[in-house]
Amino acid sequence: MDKLLLGRYIPGHSWIHQLDPRTKLMASFYYIGIVFLANNWQTYLMMFVATLFMIWLSGIRIGFFLRGVRPLIWLILFTVALQVLFVRGGMVYWHWGWLWITKLGLINGAFIFVRFVLIIFMSTLLTLTTQPLSLADAVESLLKPLRVIRVPVTELALVLQIALRFVPTLMDQTTKIMNAQRARGVDFGEGNIFQQMKAVVPLLIPLFVSSFTTADELATAMEARGYQGGDDRTKYRILRYHQRDWIAAAGMAVLTGLLLLLRAY
């Protein structure tokens, strides 16, 4: 359970950490968008260097980012293999039935690989340097315009915040219940698929029960303190853009310009 990296914030005071979460969220999405503009080795190299620079700015060891790639490695290799084996063009190195390994295929495969890695690095950078609750705040703030068309933005944000808030609680609870059932002789992750499915029951039922209890208690606690939803609630954490956010935006703009300049048409 401790190995879950997604959504795992690493405290720090780096330049990236101090960016407004809205900036980070928008910049990450934007960056993932412009990765698709890259289409030759110059542009990929530039994006790669830019990503490494941002990682360096965050002050987090590269190992954490590599660990983010690991769970997706099979998906990546599968996609790369498809590219390598099915794309035809340029010099032919090997060929058997429908399968071809060609120069274009290899280049495409390499590009896809780098693209995957860049996207994963960037989203890992976002989650490693931003607290989940700040992200929820950012989502709420960015969605605000949708209130015009009656989207219950504050309620959605509350649901998101509560869900994020209880991820660690649920993980703790899961560990505790797993331990208790292990102590009663349950083997998790052993035996055939049916045995494993059976082993999950003593874990899931107590987990459901305690989640409902927790939800109920939380609702009571919120009502006891006079919680009222709605758009007029003020916030303790107020999001403000600072100079560095504009610098980040400018950085993204420069990157886009260079990409447009260097990419092959």
Partner: protein, 281 residues
């Protein structure tokens, strides 16, 4: 032995450091210490839910090290029954009887024998016979706790490990539970390891005390030895049992105690002659 949480990440935190000690067969050992001192971490080593980062844990003839395989730990887990904090959270079956029988069945007891054990254990933890067919989720919190404890007792462990088994129970329920464990210890020679914040329980029931602070085992001894130094206890954010507190206040008023009383009976026996009650008998 030592244990480090999340070793190799920036979140690495020492659970326990260089703890070395022996819990004897048939003893009643209490582990006390400030919150976060590593008590619960030690407990989880006792049936290999955690494995030491360095050093070894020996339970009976089984040695657990960092390299121990996760398989084949079942016999060990049957030997060491573990009642966790808020044990009622582990209940999941449709009926109380099935839930209590769940543990023994995992260790190879037949369904029939396991249900017979459930029948016996329900009585032992002081619940009426008719709860057996009820859903555990229809019971009160205190009753659920008892069912969970019965579920661990039904495994018939050689060592019973209790992590604050009475937290959140009312005083009567607490007393009943502790008396039940005491009876198991006295009558059946059950080895018990108890983690608690209740110094009264330590004084009343334990024969050995481990004091933990910041992940280290800083003192072991009998309750009398441990509670003989109030200043040291206070420095380690621990208190005295109520009886010892009272004795201390009486000493300040000129009374004499030798040895310092730990239980109510001892206190009364020593106090009686001093207030002149002795002559009247």
């Amino acid at each position: 032995m030592s244990f480090t949480y999340q070793a190799g990440t920036p979140f690495a935190g020492d659970g326990i450091k260089d703890v070395s000690g022996t819990i004897h067969d048939g003893s009643y050992t209490a582990i006390i210490g400030h919150t976060g001192s590593g008590k619960s971490t030690i407990l989880q080593h006792l049936n290999a839910l955690l494995k030491p980062t360095s050093g070894t844990v020996t339970i009976g003839d089984k040695v657990i090290t960092n390299e121990t395989n996760n398989k084949n730990l079942k016999p060990l887990r049957q030997k060491v029954g573990m009642v966790f904090q808020f044990a009622e959270n582990q209940l999941f079956e449709q009926t109380v009887a099935k839930d209590i029988a769940f543990g023994p069945q995992n260790f190879g007891v037949s369904e029939k024998d396991a249900l017979a054990l459930a029948d016996k254990m329900v009585a032992m933890v002081g619940l009426p016979h008719d709860v057996l067919e009820k859903s555990p989720f229809d019971l009160s919190g205190g009753q659920m706790r008892r069912v969970a404890i019965a579920g661990v007792l039904a495994m018939q462990p050689e060592v019973l490990v209790l992590d604050e088994p009475t937290a959140g129970l009312d005083p009567a329920g607490r007393h009943e539970m502790m008396t039940m464990f005491e009876r198991l210890h006295r009558e059946q020679g059950q080895t018990i390891v108890l983690v608690t914040h209740q110094m009264d329980d330590v004084a009343d029931y334990a024969d050995t005390v481990w004091v933990m602070a910041e992940g280290r085992l800083i003192k072991t001894g009998t309750p009398r030895e441990i509670f003989s130094d109030p200043a040291w206890l206070k420095a380690n954010q621990l208190g005295l049992p109520k009886t010892a507190q009272m004795a201390q206040q009486l000493i300040a008023k000129g009374f004499h105690f030798d040895p310092r009383p730990l239980t109510e009976t001892e206190l009364a026996d020593q106090l009686l002659p001093q207030i002149g009650g002795g002559q009247h008998g």
